[in-house]
């Protein structure tokens, strides 16, 4: 391979020099490179350098934030570098793992600096990216600081449930898993590996959006790449010690929109006890009705359901929440000289959320050392070790979630703290409701609180990232890189659930260990050669192997008790009443090998051609008998043209920089590991069979209902990107515009087969998913002066994630669910990704003749009222679900947003800075379980209409002869087939039926409950557009002038005050539902189910270096 290389002798000479800034201070760490080669060095602490170059060479002088210069090599150079007035000359770490000048790229790439990330005061670095990069959509997690956020770059290229970008940390590939709840019930979201990333150790994150940029990472990068570069040691004036401390506080400032006018029960007046005391209606009780349609909350003293006399007032659920704390302390020591840089950092985080009992603790160690060992060899090694400990994330999808618990069948008068603070049954032990619950825990709040305090779940994670790069200079224009790295990730989960039954019976204990190990070894040959005066070539040839969990090296192991604990409060697996269960298996192994070639040719510093080609061999596409299309190739090509280098533009005073770029690229994507050898075979079934002889039998059977496919091949994404970068008025205004069209083919999708055939699906390579959009980044410096500066940026993103084609004959592909399976997000041919389909929408009347043909009628098109499958509250008619009326499954629209936009403004005056960020999402539906079920019993403000005469209630006489004023006449017509006293009601409006005395008005409590309760509710009622404009971040900073610091031996001291998630300036989510509380980071998830209150944070950061 190296045989074609020859060494040529050139005349050599030594050059020395000093690099200074505009004020004459030496600048350390500036890169000095012999043009057209990889021969280079960097300046030392005094800004000096020395380099041996060939005769007549030119030097390229570069440093981030400063204007790059090119000078002829000569002795005793003095180079003055100026601040870069704009970013077009900046370098960025690209998909190829090397720094590139942005201006030469033929695709869009954006970097976000570590300081900006740390400023967000958020334990999840993904959240800190929100609104900072065009084309990137972030959904914050809704379960506390440990929960994972969903990040989506340029739409969903795949229909699989994980479409998140690959994370590459110092060359180490990390899988960003999916986590969170589903639509079926209770789950605590412990998040994914991202919680172990510490933003204090990050130099920058490059967001690689397109396939062109992700070609190097192949299979895993079809969703884009977050390329994280850790901090490297720098020369400092003092000791090199930096201390940074942040204290930020979270405030739950807004709950859902509750009504505060009416208390529990369904009668507007109190009954009285023998002493004439007002008594709360039994129907207020959770187990009886939980209604909040009772007497007005007027503050009088009443006898509550548990016999305690309390004032009749509304509670404030926000009182339950704590002030969350984010206490982060980072200490780092760094230094550098010509041959060595080092940085050692320790960060301690304690982050409690607003939810009592929920917190995340994290200890992060980071070490990065670079060393020039000899003229030819240098080493760059980094180690990150993080230990995190998460306790009790908020639970989603059940009454264990506080938002759910305080609204669902909970009247407004409940004295929350009375039950939360005393949640153990005084007589029988266990949860307050363990016995005689209608007396001790009539509202179920005690049992909720008991669970939150006694069902403790902890997850401890250990994450090791280690990387060593060895750089070898072989020739002046040729070098080699050998990179070896590993990610070792261990999760230890423990659940101690104290029994909530009588005498603390019941209970659970569970321990789970889950380990993943991956290795990556990469070899690269890098050539940099000036082919002639006009042509410059960079090219790399590489190979790598990535291996994860190979040879049963990493296990999943879960053990848990069944049927309760024999002895309460003894947490051991052996204490299980029924036989304990164990699930254990090696984690899925996978291996990807690859060879690749990539590089660029630049002509006259103006025209750059980028190219890449990669071939993967993926274990996931092999079959057990040895066959399989496991090798696949994908290339990319791109062109960047800096047309302002043309003489015609040289003296333009308006257009100072202009570039056109275009690229076309392919990315391959493999199958899920081991899928080809698992689907359609057999396995031990979950659980055991409890047989009549008292034994527990193992049950074996099919692993699934999948028909094997023996010919799976890789998925393929093709992406065209066209863009431009324009700089105006000496680059005071810059525009980066990108248009892209990305189509993903041969998706490995599971398609439904008629289940009567004995299988229900088969995975096929099929489909064409298109993402087409534009991204705009506008940056400007409206004011530049000595003391006062103003930087502004605006991003705008529009992406259309369209389903062009699925498999032949297949029109729908299910993505995710809400309300059990009442609403499905679906990829539907011809529509945008994530159409929400439901049979639980309103139905609209169509009159039919005797033979079933539709006929004209004034009733047509009106909402249909009638019976439901599982019955309605007190038998009153309600809105008929569309599937029960005529089998219709309605398409409510897409969950995907229309636009994203953001702006960030930074103002500085002398040593003061002020910055703020506003970001917006416009369009896209969400579904809310909290809204649906919380609305059912009168606790939401949306149920105020019709309760009494004043609020629009109709007066009627009920079946007991009592005159009532809480009548509601629903707007709709009655279903065909309904009769009252023998009169046919079909097509008659409810109002007419009331007028004719055939039906009574519906009492408000029954109307609202039937509208949205589990058994009869219209789910469409709780699906709504979710647009918002958020004031995301405001930061005020002050850099203490050095004149005050020198006596204190402090080099720099900065103070920052940051407000985060401050307010929604606009939002469309109904009735106070949190617009950013989706329960999972699965790609198709569109529902909240309990969620999280609106929380804002205010934090203070102090940072000093010595």
């Amino acid at each position: 391979m190296l045989c074609f290389l020859t060494t040529a002798a050139f005349a050599q000479k030594n050059v020395t020099g000093t690099v200074k800034d505009a004020s004459g201070n030496p600048i350390p760490g500036v890169s000095i490179l012999e043009k057209g080669t990889q021969n280079g060095t960097s300046t030392n602490a005094d800004g000096k350098f020395s380099l041996t170059v060939k005769e007549g060479a030119k030097l390229i002088i570069r440093s981030i934030g400063l204007v790059t210069q090119e000078v002829s090599a000569s002795a005793n150079l003095t180079i003055v570098m100026n601040d870069d007035s704009k970013s077009l000359n900046e370098v960025i770490v690209t998909g190829f793992g090397v720094k590139k000048e942005v201006k030469r790229l033929s695709y869009s790439a954006t970097a976000v600096g570590g300081a900006e990330l740390a400023q967000a005061n958020n334990s999840n670095v993904v959240n800190a990216l929100q609104g900072k990069v065009a084309g990137v959509m972030i959904n914050q997690g809704a379960s506390g600081p440990q929960s994972s956020s969903r990040i989506r770059i340029r739409g969903n290229a795949s229909l699989q449930n994980n479409t998140q970008p690959l994370v590459v940390y110092d060359g180490i590939l990390m899988d960003q898993g999916i986590s969170g709840a589903d639509s079926w019930g209770d789950a605590a979201d412990f998040g994914n590996i991202m919680k172990n990333i510490n933003s204090d150790d990050i130099e920058s994150i490059s967001v690689l959006k397109g396939a062109a940029a992700s070609a190097l990472y192949g299979s895993k990068a079809a969703g884009g790449v977050l390329l994280i570069t850790s901090k490297k040691g720098k020369t400092t004036k003092g000791l090199g010690v930096t201390v940074s401390q942040t204290s930020s506080f979270d405030d739950a400032y807004k709950f859902v929109d509750l009504q505060n006018e009416y208390g529990g029960g369904i009668s507007p007046v109190f009954a009285k006890d023998a002493n004439g005391m007002d008594v709360v209606d039994q129907q207020a009780g959770y187990y009886v009705g939980g209604y909040s349609f009772g007497p007005k909350l007027d503050g009088r003293m009443v006898k509550d359901l548990d016999g305690v006399v309390r004032p009749w007032v509304a509670n404030n659920p926000l009182d339950y929440f704590n002030t969350g704390k984010f206490i982060n302390t980072n200490v780092s020591v760094e230094g550098a000289n010509e041959n060595t840089t080092y940085r050692l950092a320790y960060t301690n985080l304690y982050n409690s959320s607003v939810l009592p009992g929920n917190n995340l603790k994290r200890d992060a160690f980071a070490l990065r050392v670079t060393r020039v060992i000899s003229k030819a060899i240098s080493v760059d090694a980094s180690v990150n070790y993080t230990m995190s400990n998460s306790l009790n994330p908020a639970r989603q999808g059940s009454a264990n979630n506080p938002l759910f618990a305080f609204t669902y069948y909970k009247p407004r008068n409940v004295d929350l703290s009375a039950y939360i603070d005393n949640n153990i049954n005084p007589v029988t032990g266990g949860a307050l409701g363990s016995s005689n619950r209608n007396l001790y825990d009539p509202y179920g709040i005690g049992s909720f609180a008991y669970t939150l305090q006694n069902d403790n779940r902890t997850q401890k994670e250990n994450n090791l990232l280690a990387n060593i790069d060895v750089n070898i200079k072989i020739l002046p224009w040729l070098s080699a890189l050998v990179r070896t790295n590993t990610n070792f990730y261990n999760i230890a989960y423990e659940r101690k659930n104290r029994g909530n039954g009588v005498a603390f019976s019941g209970g659970d204990y569970e321990i789970t260990q889950n380990t993943n190990k991956s290795y990556r070894i990469q070899g690269l040959l890098n050539a940099t050669k000036e082919l002639s005066n006009d042509f410059e070539l960079n090219a790399s040839l590489g190979a790598e192997t990535y291996q994860k969990n190979l040879g049963n090296s990493a296990f999943y192991n879960r053990s848990y008790t069944n049927g309760g604990l024999k002895i309460p409060d003894v947490y051991s697996i052996a204490n299980s009443i029924n036989p304990a269960s164990t699930t254990a298996y090696p984690n899925l192994g996978e291996r990807t090998d690859a060879v690749y070639l990539y590089g660029d040719v630049t002509w006259k510093n103006m025209l750059t051609l980028n190219f890449s080609g990669r071939n993967d061999w993926s274990s996931s596409l092999t079959y057990k008998d040895g066959h399989g299309n496991y090798s696949y190739f994908y290339p990319s090509v791109g062109l960047s043209w800096i047309f302002t280098e043309l003489p015609a533009f040289k003296n333009s005073s308006v257009l100072s920089f202009g570039k056109l770029r275009a690229s076309y690229s392919y990315t391959g994507l493999s199958a899920q590991p081991q899928y080809t050898n698992t689907a359609g075979y057999y396995r031990l079934q979950d659980g055991t069979f409890s047989n009549a002889n008292g034994g527990n039998q193992s049950v074996y059977g099919f692993s699934d209902n999948i028909l094997k496919n023996n010919n799976l091949k890789n998925e393929l994404t093709k992406e065209l990107e066209i863009g431009t970068n324009l700089g105006f008025l000496k680059n005071r205004i810059n525009i980066d515009f990108a248009y892209y069209k990305k189509n993903s083919y041969n998706q490995i999708l599971s398609f439904a087969l008629p289940q009567e055939s004995g299988v229900s699906s088969q995975a096929l390579n099929a489909g064409n998913i298109q993402n087409q959009g534009i991204e705009v980044l506008l940056t400007a410096k409206p004011i530049v002066s000595k003391d006062f500066n103003w930087n502004a940026s605006v991003t705008f993103t529009r992406n259309r994630n369209k389903i062009i084609e699925l498999a032949p004959g297949v029109e729908n592909y299910d993505l995710d669910l809400a309300f059990g399976n009442d609403i499905t997000s679906v990829a539907r041919v011809g529509e945008i990704y994530g159409s929400l389909i439901t049979g639980y929408g309103y139905s609209y009347y169509q009159k039919k003749d005797a033979s079933g043909n539709p006929i004209a009628s004034p009733s047509n098109g009106k909402k249909v009222l009638g019976n439901t499958g599982y019955g309605t509250t007190d038998g009153y008619y309600t809105f008929v679900r569309s599937q029960d009326y005529d089998g219709t499954r309605k398409n409510l629209g897409t969950m995907m947003e229309n636009y994203l936009a953001s702006t960030r403004q930074e103002l500085s005056y002398k040593n003061f800075t002020l910055s703020f960020q506003i970001d917006a999402k416009i369009g896209g539906l969400m579904a809310s379980g909290t809204h649906q079920y919380g609305s059912a019993n009168g606790s939401f403000a949306n149920s105020l209409f019709g309760r009494d005469e004043a609020s629009g209630g109709v007066t009627y006489t009920d079946k007991n002869g009592v005159v009532k004023h809480d009548g509601i006449i629903p707007d709709g017509v009655l279903n065909d087939g309904l009769q009252s006293n023998g009169v046919d009601l079909g097509g008659m409006t409810y109002a007419d039926a009331v007028k004719q005395g055939l039906l009574k008005p519906i009492p408000a409590y029954a109307y609202y409950e039937n509208l949205s309760q589990w058994s009869s509710g219209i789910r469409e009622y709780s699906v709504f557009e979710n647009s918002w404009v958020a004031l995301r971040e405001v930061t005020v900073g002050y850099n203490v002038p050095s004149k005050y610091l020198t006596k204190l031996k402090i080099n720099t001291l900065s103070l920052n005050l940051t407000g985060r998630n401050i307010a929604y300036l606009y939002k469309t989510a109904k009735d106070g539902i949190n617009p950013e509380s989706i329960f999972s980071n699965r790609a198709g998830a569109f529902a909240e189910y309990g969620g999280w209150p609106l929380v804002r944070s205010l934090g203070f950061n102090i940072r000093a270096s010595f």
Binding site: G563, G589, T678, T872
Partner: protein
């Protein structure tokens, strides 16, 4: 270096294949494993939730909602018919067909040692095909389950007539095999939670099942019914005692008392409860619990009655009403008696000896056979009481004592229980109805076939009314139309068109008030 890497890894496919093997995947299982899988999967908590507790149990007036029945409780919920997709096509069918295919593909020696195993697997498959077709009419059967074996992914539908005929032929063949005393047989043993692999008991059960299917034909094809009944009864292999009853026998936690199997919060139906109290039925405390005050109080089954203002106090709390006896359904139910979760055994009847007796009694009373109706009726009553007594003891129902023969004698001699030739079919059906307490879906079938119970039968139901309008009961499953994109859409359309030729099929496929082929007016 690059080439070294390539040599080290890139080209060795074996290591890639090895990385892609999942050690928890099994590449083969035994036919007996698939039998157990099918048996365990033959019951489903969702069937109990949707089909039993919230549908047939209410329609058959065994129970009501704790607040009384809703105005439309006679409607069929969209989740009804669990047997079709989730159990038969999703679980039980594929497992049994795989067992049979597996046996068929074995070398002769192995195949010959599994003659009985194959026949037993077939009996269970045939039973379930009958059970699914019973309320669905036409279903894919002869071409179903073949995709894994290179067969069609779009199985055509067989008419109910064809399914019943095929099932009868399959059962007949299985009985012949099971009676043949084949030697050297590998027994299903513990993998058969019905009969522990006993071939004779399976032959008895299969014969009884033929009788049960045949009697469905009483209106639509009486000749065939008589032929099958005559043929079956002539066979000496017959059920002869409660221990021959065909049921899935399970341990305490198979049906978890905390899940969807739980019968909690359903009140006893007043008509049946009152009848049992009046006659001193020894099964009463096995079926129902007294209310909190220790009395047996039933709930009105008619929505209008339950809504009467006078009855409001009764429905103020479930504690005022008798409920279903938890442990008869979920033996691990915790009675809060300090003993924790129950440890008894559970059961899921398929075809009990009592039912067999009532089938023979009904056939005799109608003159189809020459049996003595009274004898078989009496056998049925005694067997049913004995059966539920045994089951309640097994399930450790709290405060339940085994029923003595004397107690059954006393019960049998009560007016309305003791055989009365003038009301033979009425009495047989009403006692069968009581026996079907744990098979309300079969009680539904008997009601469709015989019209009993009704408002004037020995055990008289309440007249069901909502807003003054009489409520009628559903007679079949609503058929979910496949999406036009479903590959089997055309086959289903053809099947529906064929069924719709029956004038009683109903207003459309989803009209559960229509009728299937056997349920002739």
């Amino acid at each position: 270096m690059v080439s070294a890497l390539l040599v080290a890894g890139g080209c060795k496919k074996e290591s890639f294949v090895e990385a892609n093997l999942n050690p928890t995947t099994l590449y083969e299982v035994k036919p007996e494993d698939q039998f157990l899988r099918a048996a365990v999967g033959s019951q489903d908590d969702f069937e109990y939730f949707a089909d039993v507790y919230r549908a047939s149990n209410l329609w058959m007036q065994y129970a009501t909602l704790s607040t009384g029945n809703g105005l439309n409780f006679n409607n069929v919920g969209s989740q009804f018919n669990t047997r079709y997709g989730k159990i038969f096509y999703g679980r039980l069918g594929p497992a049994l067909v795989d067992a049979i295919k597996n046996i068929e593909s074995m070398p002769d020696a192995d195949k010959n040692a599994r003659v009985n195993m194959k026949a037993i697997s077939q009996v269970l498959l045939s039973y379930y095909a009958f059970y699914v077709s019973d309320i669905n009419g036409s279903i894919p059967y002869s071409q179903a389950f073949q995709a894994r074996y290179g067969g069609t992914t779009t199985p055509a539908y067989d008419t109910q007539q064809a399914v019943f005929a095929k099932v009868d032929a399959e059962l007949k063949a299985a009985v012949a095999t099971l009676k043949s005393n084949a030697t050297g047989q590998i027994s299903l043993g513990g993998n058969d939670p019905y009969f522990n692999g006993d071939a004779t008991l399976w032959a008895k059960a299969a014969n009884a099942l033929r009788l049960k299917i045949a009697i469905r034909l009483i209106k639509v094809d009486p000749t065939k019914m008589k032929a099958i009944a005559t043929e079956v009864i002539a066979d000496p292999v017959q059920m002869s005692g409660v221990n021959d009853s065909w049921m899935l026998k399970v341990g305490p936690s198979y049906a978890d008392g905390g899940g969807n199997f739980s019968p909690a919060n359903f009140a006893a139906g007043k008509p049946v409860l009152d009848f049992m109290v009046a006659k001193g039925d020894p099964r009463l405390s096995a079926f129902y619990r007294p209310n909190a005050a220790g009395n047996y109080v039933g709930s009105f089954t008619s929505p209008d009655e339950a809504k009467l203002p006078a009855n409001a106090p009764l429905y103020a709390s479930i504690n005022n009403l008798s409920q279903l006896q938890h442990r008869l359904f979920t033996p691990n139910f915790n009675e809060s008696d300090g003993l924790g979760a129950g440890t008894g055994k559970g059961f899921y009847p398929v075809l009990t000896y009592a039912e067999y007796c009532f089938l023979r009694a009904d056939l005799a009373a109608r003159g189809v056979t020459t049996d003595v109706a009274e004898t078989w009726y009496k056998n049925g009553v005694y067997a049913s009481v004995q059966f539920y007594s045994d089951r309640a003891v097994d399930a450790k129902v709290a405060n339940f004592n085994a029923v003595t023969t004397t107690a059954i004698d006393t019960y049998y001699n009560k007016v309305g229980v003791k055989f009365d030739a003038t009301k033979a079919t009425d009495q047989i059906a009403c006692q069968a109805y009581l026996d079907f307490f744990r098979q309300p879906l079969e009680a539904w079938a008997w009601w469709k076939r015989t019209g009993f119970p009704n408002t004037t039968s020995v055990l008289a139901w309440s007249d069901l009314k909502a807003n003054g309008t009489p409520l009628v009961l559903a007679r079949r499953a609503g058929i979910d139309l496949l999406s036009p994109t479903n590959l089997n859409y055309a086959n289903q359309q053809a099947a529906i068109a064929e069924m719709a030729k029956n004038p009683d099929f109903g207003a459309g496929p989803n009209d559960a008030f229509g009728r299937v082929w056997w349920d002739k007016k």
